[in-house]
C-alpha cells in the first residue's frame, strides 16, 4: 500500500479560492430568488395563499313565496339535498365506489363517467352525483358517515308550483341564469344561480330572490374544514301577495280545460287581475330542478307554442267584440245618429264587394237579421249594421276611438313581454306597406276583422273600462302595487247606458248571442266574438281544417254598470261561436265570484249553480271533471280533485275551493310533497 500521498503538500490554493467565490455567488443567486418571491411578488403570493386557506361556501337564500289575495300559498319552496361526492382521496373513492353506487341507486358506470368528466377539477372540490336526494339516500349517507366518509349533502331550495301547471305561464319559471343575465347583473349573479326566467318569477325576481349568505371557512390542503372565519346569513327573498283569487283561478283553469286559449279576469275598479290562464302551458315544476335539453327543444318547437302566455301575448282578431268599440264610437260621434238602422239580408255590398253577415251561414234559425238598430245589432251581433256604421264613421274616427279605448297599446300589466296588439290606420299601412288605405278595409275593421288584433287582457280592460264609464285601470298582479295607472276617456253617460244595456241584453234578452249564459240574480253582461282566421271564400277553397277554425271570444262582466269583475275568454280554433265555446267559461268564473262574495257577506247563496258538464261543449275531454268524488278524495292531488268535484256537484262549489289549499300558516307541504313522490299522473 503506497503511503506517499500522506505527505503530498501541493494544495491548489487558487482553485480553492475559486470554489469560495462560487459558493458566495451561489448563495447570492438563491437569495435573489427569495427576494423576487418574498419582496417583489409577495402580494401576489399572499393572495394565492389566502385563496388556498379560505373557502367561501354559499348559503342559498330561499326565494320568496307567492300568495294569492287571501294569503293562500301559490308558489313555495321545498328543501332539497344534493348528494356531493368528496374526491380528496382517490384511493378511498375507488374503494368505496361500488358501495356508494349501490347505496344511492346509481349505476357504477355512470358514477365512473362522472368522475372521469370532472377529472380536471381541483380534487378538493366535491362533485354532485345526485341532484335530488331521496329520504333513503339521506338515511344511507347519515348511517355510513363513519365507514364511507365520502358523501356530503348540500341544501338547496327548489321551487314548488301547484300541480298540473296551475297558472303556469303567468307565474313563469326559474332557471339557471344565462351569461347575459350574469353580465347585466353587476356581479349579483354568479354562474349556477337561479333566477326567474319568465312571468312573475322574472317580473318580481328582484324582490323574490333574496341574498345568498356566505360561510367563510379555513380549509386544509385536503379540503377539510378546520376553522370558521365568519358567517353571513342568507336573507330570504320577499314574499309577494298576488291579486289572483285562487278560487277563481281554479275555476278558470278547470273551465277552460285543455283547450288552447286564455282567460283573464279583472276587477275593473282596481285593475287587479283575479285569474289568468293560458293554455297549453308547460309545468313550471319541470324547470325547478333542471329541464333537459330535449324537453326544452320540444317546448320550443311545439306548434301550439306552450311557452306563449296567450293572455298577454296572443294577438288575434277580436271579431265581434270590436263591435262594442264601433258602437261606442258611433254613439259618441253621433255619426251615424243613434236612431240609425240597417236592413240585414245576410250580406251587404260596399265598394263593389260583397261582405257576408255571420247569420248567413248560421245553421239554425233565420238567415238574415232584418231591420236592426244598435241595440239589436249588438244583441244579435249583426255584421251588416256595423259594416255600415264603419263606412259612415271612416277609419280615422274608428281608429281614434279604438286607440283611446286601449286597442293597439300595451295595458302595462306587470308581466314581461306583453304584446300591444294592433289598431290599423291609414298611417299604419302607409308606414308598413307603403300603400294607401283601402276603403274596404274599414268595413272589416268595424267588425273586428282585417288587420285589427288584440290580446285577451286588452279586451278585458277595454270592455271593463267602457262599462265603468271610461275609466281604465292598469291591470296588475301584485296586490300592494304602488301607483296603479289609470286612463280616463270621457264617454257620455247615455252612451255607456246604451252600450251596457245592449251587452246586458246579449245574455239576458231573447235573441242575444249569449242567452244560454244567463245567471239568475246576477247582471251578467257581455259580448261574444267569433273571429275568422281566414275569410269565408278562402275557407271554401281550402276546406275545413282545424288550424283555420274560428277563434271563439267572450268578454263578460257583472254587474251591468260599474262592474266588479270582467272576464275575457279566448278559445282558439274551437270551430264554435264565441258564445258557445267561451261564454260558459265566463259564466263559471263570474258565478264563482258571486258565490264566494255572497257567502262572505251573507252566508247564503243567491243563485243555484247550474249543472254543467265540462266535457260537453268543447269536444275536448277533461279527465279531471270525470274524477269521481271518492277517488278524488283518495288521490294524491287533493287541491285539484276537490275542485273537479266541485264543478260537478253544486252544493260543494263555494266551500271546496277554499279548503282545497291550506292557508299560509299551514303551508301545503305534505300534500304537494306526496305528489312529488307519486308516480307520474
Amino acid at each position: 500500500m503506497s503511503i506517499w500521498f500522506r505527505n503530498d503538500k501541493r494544495l491548489p490554493q487558487a482553485r480553492l479560492a475559486v470554489v469560495s467565490y462560487v459558493i458566495v455567488g451561489m448563495i447570492g443567486v438563491l437569495l435573489l430568488g427569495f427576494w423576487k418571491l418574498q419582496v417583489i411578488d409577495s402580494d401576489k403570493y399572499g393572495q394565492l395563499a389566502e385563496r388556498n386557506r379560505v373557502r367561501s361556501i354559499p348559503i342559498i337564500a330561499p326565494r320568496g313565496r307567492m300568495l294569492d289575495r287571501d294569503g293562500r300559498v301559490l308558489v313555495d319552496n321545498y328543501p332539497s339535498f344534493s348528494v356531493l361526492l368528496l374526491r380528496d382521496d382517490p384511493a378511498l373513492v375507488e374503494k368505496n365506489l361500488p358501495a356508494v353506487a349501490d347505496g344511492l341507486g346509481i349505476s357504477i358506470s355512470d358514477l365512473r363517467d362522472e368522475l372521469a368528466n370532472t377529472k380536471n377539477l381541483p380534487k378538493f372540490q366535491p362533485i354532485v352525483i345526485k341532484p335530488e336526494a331521496t329520504k333513503a339516500d339521506v338515511a344511507f349517507i347519515e348511517s355510513h358517515r363513519a365507514d364511507i366518509p365520502l358523501l356530503e349533502m348540500l341544501m338547496v331550495h327548489r321551487r314548488r308550483y301547484l300541480p298540473d301547471a296551475f297558472m303556469g305561464n303567468t307565474i313563469g319559471y326559474v332557471g339557471e341564469v344565462s351569461e347575459q343575465q350574469i353580465e347585466d347583473s353587476n356581479g349579483k349573479f354568479r354562474p349556477g344561480d337561479f333566477a326567474g326566467k319568465t312571468g312573475l318569477e322574472r317580473q318580481y325576481n328582484d324582490q323574490l330572490i333574496g341574498t345568498d349568505g356566505m360561510r367563510r371557512v379555513v380549509v386544509n390542503s385536503v379540503g377539510k374544514e378546520v376553522g370558521r372565519l365568519s358567517t353571513q346569513e342568507a336573507i330570504p327573498g320577499k314574499q309577494i301577495t298576488l291579486t289572483i283569487d285562487y278560487d277563481l283561478q281554479m275555476i278558470a283553469e278547470q273551465s277552460l280545460g285543455q283547450r288552447p286559449g286564455a282567460v283573464v279576469a279583472l276587477d275593473p275598479r282596481t285593475g287587479e287581475v283575479l285569474a289568468m290562464v293560458s293554455r297549453p302551458t308547460p309545468d313550471p315544476n319541470d324547470f325547478a330542478v333542471q329541464i333537459s335539453k330535449d324537453e326544452w327543444r320540444k317546448l320550443n318547437e311545439d306548434p301550439l307554442h306552450p311557452l306563449l302566455n296567450r293572455a298577454i301575448q296572443a294577438q288575434l282578431a277580436p271579431g265581434s267584440i270590436f263591435k262594442i268599440i264601433t258602437g261606442t264610437a258611433m254613439l259618441e260621434d253621433k255619426v251615424p245618429p243613434e236612431s240609425f238602422t240597417t236592413f240585414c239580408p245576410g250580406y251587404a255590398t260596399f265598394y263593389g264587394r260583397q261582405f257576408k253577415c255571420w247569420v248567413l251561414s248560421s245553421k239554425t234559425g233565420p238567415r238574415s237579421h232584418g231591420t236592426t238598430n244598435l241595440h239589436d245589432a249588438i244583441l244579435k251581433s249583426c255584421d251588416v249594421f256595423f259594416y255600415t256604421v264603419g263606412m259612415h264613421l271612416g277609419i280615422d274616427r274608428l281608429a281614434y276611438y279604438a286607440s283611446k279605448l286601449g286597442i293597439g297599446h300595451k295595458t302595462g300589466i306587470d308581466l314581461p313581454s306583453e304584446e300591444p296588439g294592433l289598431m290599423p290606420s291609414p298611417e299604419w299601412v302607409e308606414r308598413v306597406f307603403h300603400r294607401k288605405w283601402y276603403a274596404g278595409e274599414t268595413i272589416s275593421v268595424a267588425v273586428g276583422q282585417g288587420a285589427v288584433t288584440t290580446t285577451p287582457l286588452q279586451l278585458a280592460r277595454t270592455i271593463g273600462g267602457i262599462a265603468s264609464g271610461g275609466v281604465f285601470k292598469q291591470p296588475h298582479l301584485l296586490k300592494d302595487a304602488q301607483n296603479v295607472g289609470e286612463e280616463r276617456f270621457q264617454i257620455s253617460d247615455s252612451t255607456v247606458e246604451k252600450i251596457t244595456d245592449a251587452m246586458y241584453g246579449v245574455v239576458n234578452e231573447p235573441g242575444g248571442t249569449g242567452g244560454h249564459l244567463k245567471l239568475t240574480g246576477i247582471e251578467l253582461s257581455g259580448k261574444s266574438g267569433t273571429a275568422q282566421v281566414i275569410g269565408y271564400s278562402t275557407r271554401d277553397r281550402v276546406g275545413k281544417q282545424k288550424k283555420f277554425e274560428d277563434n271563439a271570444w267572450f268578454v263578460g262582466y257583472a254587474p251591468k254598470r260599474n262592474p266588479e269583475i270582467v272576464v275575457a275568454v279566448l278559445v282558439q280554433e274551437s270551430g264554435q261561436h264565441g258564445g258557445e265555446a267561451s261564454g260558459p267559461v265566463v259564466r263559471d268564473i263570474i258565478k264563482t265570484y258571486y258565490d264566494k262574495k255572497n257567502k262572505k257577506t251573507n252566508g247564503q247563496y243567491t243563485v243555484e249553480l247550474e249543472h254543467r258538464d265540462l266535457d260537453g261543449d268543447g269536444g275536448v275531454s277533461h279527465p279531471e271533471a270525470n274524477t269521481s268524488p271518492t277517488s278524488a278524495a283518495g288521490s294524491a292531488k287533493p287541491a285539484h280533485a276537490v275542485v273537479a268535484h266541485a264543478a260537478a256537484a253544486p252544493a260543494a262549489a263555494t266551500i271546496a275551493p277554499q279548503v282545497a289549499l291550506k292557508r299560509e300558516d299551514t303551508a301545503p307541504t305534505a300534500a304537494a310533497r306526496e305528489d312529488k313522490d307519486s308516480p307520474p299522473h
Binding site: K9, V19, I27, L31, L37, Q38, D41, Y45, A49
Partner: protein, 368 residues
C-alpha cells in the same frame, strides 16, 4: 509527534454554525408537525442529531489516512450494499432505498456518498502531476459511474445527482484542464438536455421522474399534480414576505399545503413563517458553513485531507443548491433534503459523518 489532538483543535466555529442550522431545523420541524399526526417528530430529529454528533466525534478520532488506506475495501462494500438494496431492499414511496440496520431503515445511498468522497479523495490524492490527465479523469468517472448507475436503478435520481459534483469539484481541484472541462461541460449539457427532451428521457427516466421534469417546465398545466408541489412551495415562500408570518402561523405550512413540509420542503415552511429575514439567516449560515469548510481544506495538512474536506463541501453545497432552488421553484422536485434542517435519519447521519471526516483532517493539520 502528537498522537492525541486536544479539544481546542476542533473547529468550534464550524460546530457552532452546525448547531445553529440544526436548531433552525428542529424549530421548523416542530412548527410544521405539532398538533398533527406527526406530532413529536422534532424530538426524533433531536435523537438523530445526538447519534450524529457521537458518530462525528468518533470518526474524528480515527486518522483519516487509515480510512483512506481502506478506500478500495470501502468501495467494494458500498457496491455490494447497493446491490443488496436492489435485491433485498425495503420499498418505500415506490423506490428501493432502505436496508434494515439496528431496527431502523437506513438509506444505503447516503453511506455510499460518504464512501465515494473517501474513494475520490484517495484517487485524486494519488494523481501526481498538477494537471489531470484524460486517462485519470476517465478512471475517476468510472469509479463514480458504477455506484451512480446502481443508485439510479433504485431509483434515486437525487442521490445519484449528488455524486456528480463530487467528481466535478474533485477533478477541478486535481488540476482539470480547460479543454477537458469544456468537453465534460458539453457532455453534461447534452445529458441534462436529454433529460428534458422527452424522446430521449423516456428511455432513461422513470415515469414519475419525467412527470416531475414536465411539471417543472410547465407547472400551470398540472396545478394539482407534481407542479402543485412547486406552486404551493412558491406560494408559501412568497406569501411569507419580508418579515414572515411568524412561528406556527404559516397557513401554507400549518394547513398542509406545502408538501413534506418537515423534510424536503422545510425551507419553504421556514421562509413562510420567518420571511426573507429568516431566509437571510439560514442561507447566511449555510454560506458560512461552506466557506468554513473551504478554509479547512486550505489549511489541510496534505492533498488527501484537502480532497476529503472539499468532497464534503461539494456534497453539502450541492444539497443546499438543489434543495433551495427547488423550494423557490427554480428546479424540479428531486427529493434532495436540506442538510441538517430537513427531517431524516440517514441524511442527518451522513452529514455528521462527513463533518467527522472534516474534523479528522483539521485535528491532524499540525500532526507530524
Amino acid at each position: 509527534m502528537k498522537d492525541a489532538p486536544g479539544t481546542k483543535d476542533y473547529d468550534w466555529w464550524l460546530l457552532a454554525i452546525l448547531a445553529a442550522i440544526c436548531a433552525l431545523g428542529v424549530i421548523e420541524i416542530y412548527s410544521a408537525t405539532h398538533g398533527s399526526a406527526l406530532d413529536g417528530m422534532h424530538m426524533k430529529q433531536v435523537r438523530w442529531l445526538f447519534v450524529g454528533v457521537i458518530l462525528m466525534f468518533g470518526l474524528s478520532r480515527l486518522d483519516y489516512h487509515l480510512i483512506l488506506d481502506q478506500a478500495l475495501i470501502l468501495y467494494l462494500i458500498g457496491i455490494l450494499a447497493l446491490i443488496a438494496v436492489l435485491v433485498f431492499g425495503h420499498t418505500r414511496f415506490g423506490a428501493k432505498r432502505w436496508l434494515p440496520v439496528l431496527g431502523e431503515f437506513l438509506q444505503v445511498s447516503e453511506l455510499v456518498k460518504l464512501i465515494i468522497i473517501i474513494v475520490l479523495a484517495r484517487f485524486f490524492a494519488e494523481v501526481q502531476s498538477d494537471d489531470l490527465s484524460l486517462r485519470d479523469l476517465i478512471k475517476a468517472g468510472l469509479l463514480v459511474g458504477i455506484p451512480l448507475a446502481l443508485i439510479l436503478k433504485q431509483p434515486d435520481l437525487g442521490t445519484a445527482l449528488v455524486l456528480m459534483p463530487l467528481l466535478v469539484v474533485g477533478a477541478f481541484l486535481a488540476g482539470l484542464q480547460w479543454h477537458h472541462a469544456a468537453i465534460i461541460s458539453l457532455v453534461g449539457v447534452l445529458l441534462v438536455g436529454s433529460v428534458f427532451f422527452p424522446p430521449v428521457s423516456k428511455h432513461i427516466l422513470k415515469p414519475y421522474q419525467r412527470e416531475r421534469i414536465t411539471s417543472f417546465l410547465h407547472p400551470e398545466d398540472d396545478a394539482k399534480g407534481s407542479g402543485y408541489q412547486l406552486l404551493q412551495s412558491k406560494i408559501a415562500v412568497g406569501s411569507g414576505g419580508f418579515w414572515g408570518k411568524g412561528f406556527g402561523n404559516g397557513s401554507q405550512n400549518q394547513l398542509g399545503y406545502i408538501p413534506v413540509r418537515y423534510s424536503d420542503f422545510i425551507m419553504s415552511a421556514w421562509a413562510e413563517e420567518q420571511g426573507f429575514k429568516g431566509v437571510l439567516l439560514a442561507l447566511g449560515l449555510y454560506m458560512a458553513l461552506l466557506l468554513r469548510l473551504v478554509q479547512n481544506a486550505q489549511r489541510a495538512k496534505d492533498r488527501a485531507g484537502m480532497f476529503l474536506v472539499m468532497g464534503v463541501a461539494a456534497a453539502l453545497g450541492f444539497h443546499v443548491l438543489v434543495n433551495v432552488a427547488m423550494v423557490i421553484g427554480a428546479m424540479p422536485v428531486t427529493g434532495i433534503p436540506l442538510p441538517l434542517m430537513s427531517y431524516g435519519g440517514s441524511a442527518t447521519l451522513f452529514v455528521f459523518l462527513a463533518i467527522g471526516l472534516v474534523m479528522n483532517v483539521r485535528l491532524r493539520r499540525f500532526v507530524n
